[in-house]
């Protein structure tokens, strides 16, 4: 479709329309058609920025959000506390700023690329000059365009465009196969280094050697009876709680990618010498696990490995890791993702016959079973083996991009639960603005102190939240800004996936993925769990 000059002159409005339509619909077809409309209407640079932004490749942040908040409050002529209160209720910084500012003097139309270039030009500029440029921009945009502009500065576009959806739209637009597109979108590229032509339309590009395959993901099941077919159609493995990774060995180079499509090669230098034992043209899918003396360590050990900028030899010593492999995606330089799982696994087993067991590379074992019922016993024993449940993989399944029902299932062990006492409430963000939804829970210590140990947000119905809100208003003891301290009276059942020691919390405990499962109206605070109970859980989980 030819691009009309008139359309281009409308500039960022196209992106705004796209963003709003993506947000307004949950239907895949409508999302795809909104993306195609956008692609058909804007120049190539704007196409690239759109793809970049929606795949997490936002332009570099050139202005601190602290300054943005200050400037917005100044421009709106309100005190900073009122800005912060508004932000807390709106739940989105860009939106808050857009709504607070006075109407624009005159509207100016620029393309998405123009606005982004303007934002990039702010880098390392003096603050006063930055402020002046941002004020000018705000003055020339209406409320909804301002929102987009602020999002471009802060980089917080969290809108539902999955890789699969983007690939689908681009495939329809370019008439290229969607799986080819998905592959091209992977890995390290940015709208500053690639043009639409070089990234999408060209057959090959320079970055392709390091490029990972889109990860295949699993759906959850609750019952083994949900599995279709015969036991012989399925392979069972443990589900590991580490960092999902893809190790690429091509042309004598080695790359390691995380599921979030980040290149994490440098964070795990112990894997580097693997390229001398793994033949070039091999891509492995597996889990990076904290591992020492034959045992899997708690998840926090691997967190330090990813969060630290520099990996020192001390860190390597305290937090050693292994790569536990469960799939083979490329073999002898060929993409074998369309082969059935069982064939890929056989090739993987063969590869491992020549791997020295002292290397930080392990094969995730296949767990034999004859009847589906046996899986229950395997699952119950999984935590003793340092895993968080089972993975059930269909032997005939191909390795497709993203989730596909009936191919890979995860069957996690039941979460831990404790009954805890509500002590603080804070109003929610976004969807739950105006409602007290962020709760802090405590348990009693042996000395009789109420010690906060976790926060939880989700898990109750809107109706329950309203009932609790009325209770909170009547039972507030103290207020600190948006937080209310309430009478220790209500008991809630909290579920969580893991428990760890923590020096940051007074209780000495940190939970993984805590959420409320039930309001225990039947319980009084004396019946809640205690710190001792939590410490016991901690001991058991080690």
């Amino acid at each position: 479709m030819p691009i009309l000059w008139k359309q281009i002159s409308k500039g960022m409005r196209y992106f705004e329309t796209l963003f709003l339509s993506l947000e307004e619909t949950t239907k895949t077809n409508e999302k795809v058609s909104a993306l195609i409309d956008y692609l058909s209407s804007v120049p190539d640079e704007d196409k690239m920025w759109m793809i970049g932004i929606f795949s997490g490749r936002r332009p570099k942040r050139t202005v601190s959000t602290k300054n943005l908040r200050r400037w917005a409050a100044e421009k709106a002529a309100i005190p900073l506390w009122l800005f912060e209160e508004s932000y807390h209720i709106v739940g989105d910084l860009s939106e808050t700023i857009a709504l607070l500012l006075p109407p624009p003097a005159i509207e100016v139309q620029k393309s998405l690329n123009d606005w982004i270039q303007l934002i990039l030009s702010l880098d390392k500029m003096e603050e006063d000059k930055q402020r002046e440029i941002v004020f000018d921009a705000w003055d020339s945009l209406n409320t909804s365009s301002r929102f987009i502009f602020n999002k471009l500065i802060t980089g917080g576009f969290r809108v539902g465009v999955s890789q699969k959806l983007m690939a689908k739209a681009l495939a329809e637009f370019t008439h290229i196969d969607p799986s080819d597109i998905a592959l091209k979108l992977m890995g390290e590229w940015s709208p500053l280094t690639y043009s639409f032509k070089s990234l999408i339309e060209n057959e090959e590009n320079e970055g392709s050697h390091s490029r990972p395959y889109p990860f295949h993901l699993a759906y959850s099941i609750n019952e083994v009876t949900d599995l279709k077919g015969e036991p012989a159609d399925w392979v069972a493995e443990y589900k590991w709680d580490g960092i999902r990774g893809q190790a690429i060995f091509r042309y004598g180079h080695y790359f390691l990618w995380s599921r979030g499509e980040e290149l994490i090669t440098d964070k795990f230098p112990e894997f580097e010498h693997l390229s001398s034992v793994i033949p070039p043209g091999t891509v492995l899918d597996g889990e990076i696990l904290p591992f020492k003396d034959g045992l899997i360590l708690p998840f926090q050990h691997i967190q330090t490995r990813v969060t630290r900028k520099k990996i020192t030899s001390a860190i390597l010593k305290v937090n050693p890791v292994v790569f536990r492999v469960y799939d083979l995606l490329e073999w002898e330089g060929k993409d074998i993702r369309t082969k059935p799982f069982i064939e890929r696994r056989t090739l993987l087993d063969q590869l491992f016959t020549s791997i020295d067991s002292t290397l930080p590379l392990q094969l995730s074992p296949v767990l034999p079973f004859a009847e589906f019922d046996e899986l229950k016993i395997l699952r119950e024993a999984s935590s003793e083996n340092g895993s968080e449940g089972l993975m059930l993989k269909n032997k005939h399944s191909t390795y497709s991009a993203g989730r596909k029902k009936g191919e890979w299932w995860k069957w996690k062990i039941d979460p831990f639960t404790v009954d805890a006492i509500l002590i603080y409430a804070q109003s929610g963000h976004g969807r739950r603005a105006n409602l007290y939804t962020d709760f802090t829970f405590a348990v009693y210590s042996q000395e009789g102190d109420l010690l906060p140990f976790t926060k939880a947000y989700s898990g109750l119905t809107d109706k329950e939240f309203i009932e609790i809100n009325q209770w909170i208003k009547k039972n507030t003891l103290e207020r600190f800004g948006p937080v209310r301290k309430v009478t220790a009276e209500l008991v809630f059942e909290i579920a969580f996936e893991g428990i760890q020691e923590s020096k940051r919390h007074k209780s000495g405990i940190a939970l993984r993925f805590p959420r409320m499962v039930r309001w225990r109206k039947d319980k009084v605070i004396a019946e809640a769990n205690t710190l001792e109970d939590l410490q016991l859980l901690l001991k058991k989980s080690r």
Binding site: E23, S86, G91, E95, L99, G430, R431, R432, N469
Partner: protein, 332 residues
């Protein structure tokens, strides 16, 4: 609460001990004075009620056989030496601010209000007083209302677009207030207006009291999809996602409310489209109204009570938050 205890804040609502009268009480009392007929202000079960003549028919329709007296805007009624009068609040038809005065002290309870004239409700009039009890539903500086003409143009555009795509437009608004505003404000080009029975009932009460309203057609089984597609349906918010709508698919849901100013609220309401049109004052409106009363004491109720109070205190006013039992209702 007020200087000489003219009004006090009780578990039943605002109370004037001298006259033994409650303003918008939350529970049954002997004498209730009502600012307007919305369910969080006009509650069932009191022995006697007082409201404006234009608000009365709907309140009667909703509360049934009640002992109801009316008092026209601007006229005084003395109860045990305390003077009460109604002044237009501009919120919905017949909605009033309630002025209470005794021995030179004047207190005004705003009820719900909006300062912009919607062309249908009696337009808001500021009342000078010593103490002003103001609502604060949209008491945050992020709320700025556009001129209603702009919003109705947006609605017109949306309805036309939907029709071109073969989708039926449904606009959601409260049956008392918002529905009349939508009906009167929609340009004729959108075609005939079809109504849900709850809304039609309120419209008929108003027609019977002599209010001039545009023609509407209640949705009924004789109407074909093509008939409905030639116009727009107005329905109460409770109907959204109900079975009543199933037979009209494909439809587009347009929610008409001040809350639609925030993306989070739009998502929560599952709106295909949010139209930001409110019967409450926006941030500027609240500030303007407060300053026009000249009051030295401000009590802030219904909404962002803490935030608006703190802002007023920053500006040098004597302001206090006043909590109500009904904040839970407003967030829905």
């Amino acid at each position: 609460m007020t200087n000489k205890g003219l009004l006090v804040h009780t578990a039943l609502g605002l109370y004037c001990p001298k006259a033994d009268v409650y303003l918008d009480p939350w529970k049954p009392v002997k004498k209730a004075i009502l600012s307007h007929g919305h369910a969080d202000h006009a509650r069932w079960g009191s022995s006697s009620y007082l409201c404006t003549p234009t608000a009365a028919p709907v309140i009667k329709y909703r509360l049934g056989e009640i002992n109801l007296e009316t008092l026209p805007f601007g006229e005084e009624k003395l109860i045990n030496g305390v003077s009460f009068s109604f002044h237009p609040a501009g919120h919905i038809l017949g909605s009033a601010q309630i002025k209470v005065s005794y021995k030179g002290e004047i207190v005004v309870f705003s009820g719900d209000y909006k300062t912009a004239n919607d062309g249908f409700s009696e337009a808001f009039e500021p009342v000078k007083c010593h103490t002003f009890i103001t609502e604060s539903t949209f008491g945050l500086p992020v709320y700025h209302w556009q001129d209603q003409k702009w919003v109705f143009n947006e609605m017109e555009e949306w309805c036309k677009n939907n029709r071109n795509n073969g989708q039926l437009s449904i606009l959601y608004g409260y049956s008392l207030g918002k529905a009349q505003r939508i009906l009167q404000g929609l340009p004729e080009s959108v075609g005939p207006i079809f109504t849900h029975s709850t809304i039609e009932a309120v419209l008929n009460v108003m027609r019977n009291q002599g209010v001039s309203l545009k023609n509407t057609i209640p949705v009924n089984e004789h109407l074909t999809r093509a008939d409905l597609l030639s116009g727009v349906i107005i329905a109460p918010p409770a109907v959204q996602n109900s079975n009543w709508l199933k037979k009209f698919e494909p439809i587009r849901n347009g929610v008409v409310s001040g809350w639609m100013a925030l993306r989070g609220a739009r998502r929560r309401r599952n709106a295909d489209k949010g139209f930001v049109l409110s019967d409450h004052a926006d941030w500027e409106g609240l500030n303007e109204a407060i300053s026009l009363t000249g009051a030295e004491n401000i009590f802030v109720t219904h909404g962002y009570t803490d935030i608006l109070s703190k802002w007023l205190i920053d500006k040098g006013l004597n302001a206090h938050p006043l909590e109500t039992n009904f904040e839970g209702d407003e967030v829905l």
